[in-house]
Amino acid sequence: MLGEAEPQWVSEEVKTGTTIIAIEFDGGVVLGSDSRVSAGASVVNRVMNKLSPLHDKIYCALSGSAADAQTIAEMVNYQLDVHSIEIDEDPQVRSAATLVKNISYKYKEELSAHLIVAGWDRREGGQVFATLSGLLTRQPFAIGGSGSSYVYGFVDAEYRRGMTKEECQKFVVNTLALAMNRDGSSGGVAYMVTIDEHSTEEKVVLGNDLPTFFDQ
């Protein structure tokens, strides 16, 4: 019998095509992401949490090719565990970011994923690192993924130094909502992780609880 043609999404590469953001406040960081995973024009997972723990107080946000990003996160998770046993204390955020950067840079031709690394450590407090294409840079905040293009103007205008934890959380949710509205590859729910000295708090903002804007 003639075989049925398989649906297109089976042969498309699975991308997280996403919006991710991380921002530092005095005493910690807030990370945020959307939850859509697409393969071509199909959404293959509408509730994926793209904020992946690398250690107790260090998380990374995944974007780009889903497989590449997850693999890098798992490798660094393992390497950080070994490292923290060797030094007999919690790892620094900069160490985690360096491990991610090492993989991204060494395999930059083969991989197409961008991870933002953010967390809290005792020495430097809250820190955000961008590792795009194998560079390593500390920034007050970082955005990434396909949806980030649409919100560069918004974050440039709205970011101020010295925001409180609550203001940062609001900033993250607003930015994600705006990007999810405009980017076809971002959507679903918003995941948020707040890391400070005392706790690591994960939160989900469901679709109908996201902020709305003048045209909705």
């Binding site: 991308k15 649409y150 919100v151 103007g153 974050v155 440039d156 970011y159 705006l178 003048f214």
Partner: protein, 217 residues
């Protein structure tokens, strides 16, 4: 994956630009940057005017291929002035937008130009229309276009409010264009704004050093 207007097919002849139009209480603001670049590497003009007057109270901004846009606006200007003589009345904004739409739709295979038309007429007051690449015509309260517009979708969605005052709208338009020019390397120069109300059209030019700055500058 998002599609940028500075596609390799268009790169050589694109205006690489940021254009914007917004309705406020009593009028519209239409504006653009002023940079013309060749392939994103060389700024061929720092002070090009991308806001074209097609009638007393109707202006339009062009995006895409500069040559196509100029040819279309020249034709449209001619047709509109003839139309307004026949009607013995200033043309409606939607008439101007429709003329552009007809040209874009009927020649869609050859042309690569899109337009924002903004103006004021007695029938419907201030209006903004968008004619997209294939010839779709829609009316919106606020619209942005050009390569730099990608970066300010979030800002415009968040900050535009219906029925703003003239000053609020001018500040909104200036901020949006300045933010786009800050992120898009093929947009830049000065901000050219035109405010159109019942009373007429007023040009405002904001040079680079008077643009608003944001926390990272």
């Amino acid at each position: 994956m998002e599609k940028h207007f500075t596609d390799s097919r268009v790169k050589g002849v694109s205006t690489g630009t940021t254009i914007l139009a917004a309705v406020f209480d009593g009028g519209v603001v239409i504006g653009s940057d002023s940079r013309a670049s060749m392939g994103g590497e060389f700024v061929s003009s720092k002070t090009i005017n991308k806001v074209i007057q097609v009638h007393d109270r109707i202006f339009c901004c062009m995006a895409g291929s500069l040559a196509d846009a100029q040819a279309v606006t020249k034709t449209a200007k001619f047709q509109l002035s003839f139309h307004s003589v026949q009607m013995e009345n200033p043309p409606l904004v939607i008439a101007a937008a429709s003329v552009l739409k007809e040209l874009c739709y009927n020649n869609k295979d050859e042309l690569q130009a899109g337009f924002i038309t903004a103006g004021w007429d007695k029938k419907k007051g201030p209006q903004v229309y968008v004619v997209s690449l294939g010839g779709m015509l829609i009316s919106q309260p606020v619209t942005i276009g050009g390569s730099g517009s990608t970066y300010i979708y979030g800002y415009v969605d968040a900050k535009y409010k219906v029925n703003m005052t003239r000053e609020e709208c001018l500040q909104f338009a200036t901020n949006a264009l300045a933010l786009a020019m800050g992120r898009d390397n093929v947009s830049g120069g000065v901000v050219n704004l035109v405010v159109i109300t019942e009373a007429g059209a007023e040009h405002i030019v904001i040079p680079g050093d008077k643009l608003p700055t944001f926390s990272d500058e």
